[in-house]
């Protein structure tokens, strides 16, 4: 403070990091990786009743190249895992990942040969959502957790 008094009107000082993170956290572009019933709850979260637009995350992108938040909603099978890895690799940095529901987080009730027992074995997960499937309130909570995480991060951490 104090610096503003020496600057002309309408000029504010801030840290570049705070400014960039403020921008990032309020305009997350999610990429929905919906494979099961969790994806239906995700659609409910995005539509008018719960309205994810209030958190700046309503621009759903079905191209990973335009997204910075992947929401893995549903069970990931043996045949889907290479696809998930490829899509995660296609997303540009900075990127975050929400593992939505029991199946994506730990395999859920499906402990068999064909099911990945948690996507965090292969890709980094920032926020887990419990539930089977989780309610839209939980998804909103997870997006808010991501926002907090984005706020705390140093931009040097993410290329």
């Amino acid at each position: 403070m104090g610096l503003e008094s020496m600057l002309p009107d309408g000029v504010l000082t801030s840290r570049i990091e705070a400014l960039v993170n403020w921008g990032r956290k309020n305009s997350l572009w999610p990429m929905p990786f919906g494979t099961a019933c969790c994806a239906i709850e995700l659609m409910g979260t995005l539509s008018s009743r719960y309205d994810l637009a209030r958190f700046g995350a309503e621009v759903i992108r079905f191209s990973p190249r335009q997204a910075d938040l992947m929401i893995v909603s549903g069970r990931i099978a043996l045949k889907m895992m290479p696809v998930l890895l490829k899509i995660w690799e296609q997303m540009p940095e900075p990127k975050w990942c929400i593992s939505m529901g029991a199946c994506a987080s730990c395999g859920g009730i499906f402990d068999n040969y064909a099911m990945i027992q948690g996507i965090d074995r292969f890709i980094p997960v920032d926020v887990y959502i419990p539930g089977c499937p989780p309610r839209p309130e939980s998804v909103i909570d997870a997006v808010m957790e991501i926002q907090k995480k984005v706020e705390r991060e140093s931009i040097k951490q993410r290329a």
């Binding site: 043996l78 895992m81 890895l85 040969y113």
Partner: protein, 160 residues
């Protein structure tokens, strides 16, 4: 025409057992002349639709053979259903393909090959239907471990 009578009349040496369940006749047969038997059922009896083709693994159940390939038929004209079961030994899990007789057979046979490892001789394109092409083993066999043989951990870890 009764399917049991029709098969018995022509291929009596192939029939292992017959019966009726829930008003639907079933026939247990050897696998050797399965295509001839299916052709008889289609052309003479009029079972013109193969609604399902699947397999059962009777591991350690004291039955004639370990595997049974099950054919479910429906006659659109007569509104009757019938079932044929062909026993396939564990040592040589092969049977002749029904692909030339029924258009619904090829994919069903691919699924059986994928999950049970029963080979269908004369199939036009016998490759896996459900599982990834590089998968090894046939997981619906009863002696396959439920949690697999480590396939689900067999992926690279993402390194940023």
């Amino acid at each position: 025409m009764d399917p049991i009578e029709a098969v018995k009349a022509k291929y009596a040496d192939q029939v292992l057992g017959t019966g009726t369940h829930a008003g639907q006749p079933w026939i247990d047969v050897k696998r050797d002349r399965i295509v001839d038997i299916l052709k008889t059922l289609r052309d003479d009896v009029g079972l013109d639709m193969l609604t399902d083709l699947t397999a059962v693994d009777h591991l350690n159940q004291g039955l004639p053979e370990r595997f049974a390939v099950v054919y479910q038929f429906y006659s659109v004209k007569d509104n009757v259903r019938a079932r044929v079961k062909a026993w396939v030994p564990e040592a040589d899990p092969t049977i002749d393909s029904a692909s030339a007789l029924y258009r619904s057979a090829p994919w069903a046979e691919r699924e059986v090959w994928d999950l049970y490892g029963i080979k269908f001789n004369g199939h036009p394109d016998l490759k896996r239907l459900m599982l990834p092409e590089n998968y090894e083993g046939h997981p619906l066999r009863k002696d396959y471990p439920l949690t697999g043989r480590g396939e689900r951990m067999n992926f690279p870890r993402y390194v940023p």
